[in-house]
C-alpha cells in the first residue's frame, strides 16, 4: 500500500470519525430557562439517550407508556395538542398543561427538561436516525425509536 493511498484512507477514516462523533457532540452552554434555543439537544444522541432514561425515571412512561400513551396522550404519532416543536414540548414539561400534565420545573433541571423534550421528539422519529435511540433496556414495547417510520407532518389536535 503506497503512502499516498494510506494517507487518503486515513483522511476518509478521520472524516468518518468526525461525522460519527457529531452525534454525541456536547454543547457546554446550558440555555437559560425558557430559552428558545433548545434545538441542539435534538441533534445530540447523548442528550436524547439521557432523555430516555429520565422519561422512565420521572414516571413519564407511567402516563405516556413508551410513546403509545395511556392516561396521557400518545407521543409517537403526529397529533400534538400543545405543539410538537421541541420548544413547545419543553414548555409542556416545564410548566405543565391544564388538562392534567404536571409541571416539572421544580423537579428537573432545565437541561434535563430539554433532554426529555428531545427524547419525546425521537419517539415519532422527528430526529435524525443516528440520534434516535436504538435499543430498549426493558421488555420490548415495539420498534426502537431509530427504526420507526418518521411520523408525518405535525397536526394540531385537541384533548381527546
Amino acid at each position: 500500500m503506497s503512502f499516498a493511498y494510506a494517507k487518503a484512507a486515513a483522511s476518509i477514516m478521520a472524516s468518518l470519525l468526525l461525522v460519527a462523533c457529531e452525534r454525541e457532540q456536547r454543547d457546554f452552554q446550558t440555555p437559560s430557562s425558557g430559552s428558545p434555543s433548545g434545538d441542539h439537544y435534538q441533534r445530540d444522541a447523548y442528550d436524547v439517550a439521557q432523555g430516555k432514561r429520565l422519561f422512565n425515571w420521572m414516571n413519564c412512561s407511567g402516563c405516556h407508556s413508551h410513546g403509545g400513551g395511556g392516561m396521557g396522550p400518545a407521543l409517537m404519532d403526529n397529533r400534538w395538542i400543545y405543539g410538537g416543536k421541541i420548544q413547545q414540548i419543553y414548555q409542556s414539561i416545564h410548566d405543565g398543561r391544564r388538562n392534567g400534565m404536571p409541571a416539572w420545573k421544580h423537579r428537573m433541571t432545565d437541561q434535563q427538561i430539554w433532554q426529555v423534550a428531545a427524547y419525546v421528539r425521537s419517539m415519532g422519529r422527528y430526529l435524525r436516525k443516528d440520534v434516535a435511540p436504538g435499543r430498549d433496556d426493558a421488555m420490548q414495547s415495539g420498534k426502537a425509536e431509530s427504526r420507526r417510520e418518521r411520523a408525518s407532518a405535525i397536526v394540531p389536535s385537541t384533548p381527546p
Binding site: 400513551g69 409517537m76 388538562n99 421488555m139
Partner: protein, 590 residues
C-alpha cells in the same frame, strides 16, 4: 333441589322501602325504580319486572336516545326515581335529568359541578364515572377531582358538596357511592399513583364526615379496634397495616373504587380494597395489608369487623374491588349468610359475611397465576413459575392485570340461582422495573403487554351456578365484556359488547333473544324500570373508553405494545371497530 333452598335476601325490598319512605317522589310501584347503581344493597342488579320476557324480547325497539356529546368512557348506571331519569357523565361529570313523563324524555335540567380539568391527567384508565345514588330527595355522586356533590332530585339545585380527594396526590374518585343508614359511602381511586386508599361515610343530610377509614397504616387509621374479629390468624395482631410492609412503604394502595354492599340486619358494609403500590412487588415485601382484600365495617362508626385478603402481596395488579353479592343460602345443610364475589384473580368466592370465613373459591376462567385457594388458611396459593420480580420478564400470566373480571358488575337472579358474569379472557407478559415515588405522578414500575387468553376469544359472558360452582352456559365474545349485567324476573339477561351490541339473552340457557347495535362501544351498566306509562323499559349508556377502550377514547398508538399498561396490545383492532361518543339508549317492547 338446591335452587329451592337458595333464599333470596330480603335486603332488596328493605333498601328500596327505606329510600322510598324518605322521598315522596315516586309514583310507580317500588321495584319499578332504580335508585343505586347496583340496584339494591345486595348488589343483585335483579329486577322483578316481567313485562319484557323471553317470548317478547325480540320485539324490543328504541324508545328514545340522549347524546352526552362526550368522547370518554361511559361506565355509569342511569338512575330512575319517579318519573325522572338521571344520567351522570364522565368528566366533566354533568348530571342530566330527563323527564320520562313526556314524549321523548326531554331534558328537565342539568347540573354541572365544574371539576378541576387537571383531574383528567391523574385518572388512571380514563375519566370515567360509575354512577350516582339516590336518598333523602337527593342525587349524590362523585366527581373526578375528588368531590362528592348532593343535588336536589327535583330541582337540580346543589344541596351540599364535600371535597375528600386531592388530585395533587393523584387522588380521583370514580366509583358510584352507596347510600345506607343515612350515610353516603365512597372511596378514592389512585392505585396507580401511590395513593393511600380509604373509605369514608358522609352524612346524607349535610355532607359532613361521619367517619373515614384508611386501608393501610396503623390500626387507629384503619379503624381496627376491639371489635375486629377476623376469621384467619394472619389478620390478627397490632398495626399489621404497617408491619406487613417494608418500613415506611405502607402509604401506597388499597384504594376503594368498586362496589359497596350493605347488610342492614348485621349493620355491616362490605367493600374490596385495591392493589398495593407500586406494581413492582420487590419494592414492597410482605403481605401488604390491607390491600387486595375485603373489609366488613360497622356502618355507624366505620369500625372494622373482619377482613379477608384475596391476593396477599399482590403480584399482578389484582385489585379486590369487585362486587360482593349479599345472599342467604343453605351451604352443606346449614343456613349461611354469605357474600358471593367474582374476583379479579379468577375465582368466585363464597364468604360467610358474619365471620369472613371462605367457604369456597372456584375458578371461573383459566388461571395459571395461582394454584387455588387453601380453604384451611384462606390463602391464595401462588404459582412459582409465574412469580414476577424486579427486571424479570414473565410471559403468559393468566389472568392479566385487569383481571379475569374487572369492575364490570355481575347480576344475580334468585329465580335461576345463577350469577351472570361479564368478563375478559386476557393474559399478559410483565416485567417489574424500579418505580420512583413522585407525588402526583404514576407509581407503577411495570412494563406490561396484554394479549388474548386461551381460545383467542378475549371475553365471555358466563352463567355461574352459585351453589354448584359450575358454569351453566357461556357465550364466548371476541372482545372483552366490559359492561355490567342486568337480569329480570322475565328471565332476560342484558349486557353490552365493546363493539356496540346491546344484547338480551335467555337467563336459563344463554340463547340470544335480541340485539341492537349502538353507535359506540358499551362499557356501561344496564338498568330496567317501569315508566310513568306503566311499561317496562331497559336503559344503557353506550360510549367506549375505560381502561379497555382507551385506545379509542384517548387515541392511543398500538405500535407501542405497552401503551395503557399493555391493554393496547390486546385491543389494537378496536379503533377499526368502534368510534367514541356517549349516548343513552332506552328500549321497550313494541
Amino acid at each position: 333441589m338446591p335452587r329451592r333452598r337458595l333464599l333470596f335476601s330480603l335486603l332488596v325490598s328493605v333498601a328500596v322501602a327505606n329510600s322510598r319512605a324518605a322521598t315522596g317522589l315516586d309514583h310507580t310501584p317500588v321495584d319499578g325504580q332504580w335508585m343505586q347503581a347496583a340496584k339494591d344493597y345486595a348488589n343483585t342488579r335483579y329486577s322483578s319486572l316481567t313485562e319484557i320476557n323471553t317470548s317478547n324480547a325480540r320485539r324490543l325497539v328504541p324508545a328514545f336516545t340522549f347524546s352526552t356529546n362526550l368522547k370518554h368512557g361511559h361506565e355509569a348506571a342511569p338512575l330512575v326515581i319517579g318519573s325522572i331519569m338521571y344520567v351522570v357523565t364522565p368528566f366533566p361529570n354533568t348530571l342530566y335529568a330527563l323527564d320520562l313523563s313526556k314524549p321523548g324524555a326531554p331534558l328537565k335540567w342539568k347540573f354541572d359541578p365544574h371539576p378541576d380539568p387537571a383531574a383528567q391527567g391523574v385518572a388512571c384508565c380514563d375519566t370515567v364515572n360509575r354512577g350516582a345514588a339516590y336518598g333523602g330527595g337527593k342525587i349524590v355522586y362523585n366527581t373526578l377531582d375528588g368531590q362528592t356533590v348532593a343535588v336536589n332530585a327535583t330541582t337540580g339545585q346543589e344541596v351540599w358538596r364535600a371535597h375528600l380527594g386531592d388530585i395533587k396526590r393523584g387522588e380521583t374518585i370514580t366509583m358510584a357511592p352507596l347510600i345506607a343508614d343515612g350515610k353516603v359511602l365512597l372511596g378514592n381511586s389512585g392505585g396507580e399513583f401511590g395513593v393511600r386508599g380509604w373509605i369514608a361515610a358522609l352524612n346524607l343530610a349535610d355532607g359532613t364526615l361521619a367517619w373515614k377509614a384508611f386501608n393501610t397504616g396503623p390500626d387507629k387509621d384503619v379503624l381496627i379496634g376491639s371489635g375486629f374479629q377476623p376469621f384467619y390468624p394472619q389478620y390478627r395482631g397490632k398495626d399489621l397495616g404497617t408491619r406487613s410492609w417494608p418500613p415506611g412503604r405502607w402509604k401506597y394502595g388499597g384504594n376503594v373504587w368498586g362496589w359497596v354492599s350493605y347488610d342492614p340486619t348485621l349493620h355491616l358494609v362490605y367493600y374490596g380494597t385495591g392493589n398495593p403500590g407500586p406494581w413492582n412487588p420487590d419494592q414492597r415485601a410482605g403481605d401488604n395489608l390491607w390491600t387486595a382484600g375485603i373489609f366488613a365495617r360497622d356502618v355507624s362508626n366505620g369500625q372494622a369487623r373482619w377482613f379477608y385478603q384475596w391476593s396477599p402481596h399482590d403480584l399482578y395488579d389484582h385489585d379486590g374491588i369487585n362486587e360482593s353479592i349479599v345472599l342467604d343460602i343453605t351451604w352443606r345443610g346449614q343456613p349461611r349468610k354469605v357474600l358471593v364475589h367474582p374476583e379479579r384473580n379468577g375465582y368466585v368466592y363464597i364468604l360467610d359475611r358474619v365471620t369472613g370465613e371462605v367457604l369456597a373459591a372456584k375458578p371461573f376462567v383459566y388461571i395459571n397465576a395461582s394454584k387455588g385457594v387453601d380453604l384451611k388458611t384462606g390463602r391464595l396459593i401462588p404459582n412459582p413459575k409465574k412469580t414476577t420480580g424486579m427486571g424479570k420478564t414473565v410471559y403468559d400470566i393468566c389472568p392479566t392485570a385487569s383481571g379475569a373480571k374487572d369492575w364490570e358488575p355481575s347480576a344475580y337472579s334468585p329465580r335461576t340461582g345463577i350469577l351472570y358474569l361479564p368478563h375478559a379472557n386476557l393474559c399478559m407478559d410483565e416485567q417489574p422495573v424500579q418505580a420512583n415515588y413522585i407525588k402526583g405522578t404514576p407509581y407503577i414500575g411495570a412494563n406490561v403487554r396484554q394479549k388474548p387468553g386461551r381460545g383467542g376469544n378475549r371475553g365471555a359472558f358466563t352463567a355461574w351456578d352459585v351453589l354448584k360452582q359450575t358454569i351453566v352456559w357461556e357465550i364466548k365474545e371476541p372482545l372483552p365484556v366490559w359492561s355490567g349485567a342486568l337480569v329480570t324476573a322475565g328471565d332476560v339477561v342484558f349486557y353490552g359488547t365493546l363493539d356496540g351490541w346491546f344484547k338480551a339473552v335467555n337467563a336459563r340457557n344463554g340463547k340470544l333473544l335480541w340485539k341492537f347495535k349502538t353507535e359506540s362501544g358499551i362499557i356501561g351498566q344496564p338498568i330496567t324500570y317501569l315508566g310513568p306509562d306503566g311499561h317496562q323499559y331497559v336503559a344503557i349508556l353506550s360510549g367506549i373508553g375505560g381502561w379497555v377502550g382507551s385506545i379509542v377514547s384517548n387515541a392511543l398508538d398500538p405500535r407501542d405494545k405497552t401503551a395503557a399498561l399493555g391493554m393496547v396490545n390486546a385491543m389494537h383492532d378496536l379503533p377499526a371497530k368502534v368510534r367514541a361518543g356517549g349516548r343513552l339508549y332506552v328500549f321497550r317492547v313494541r
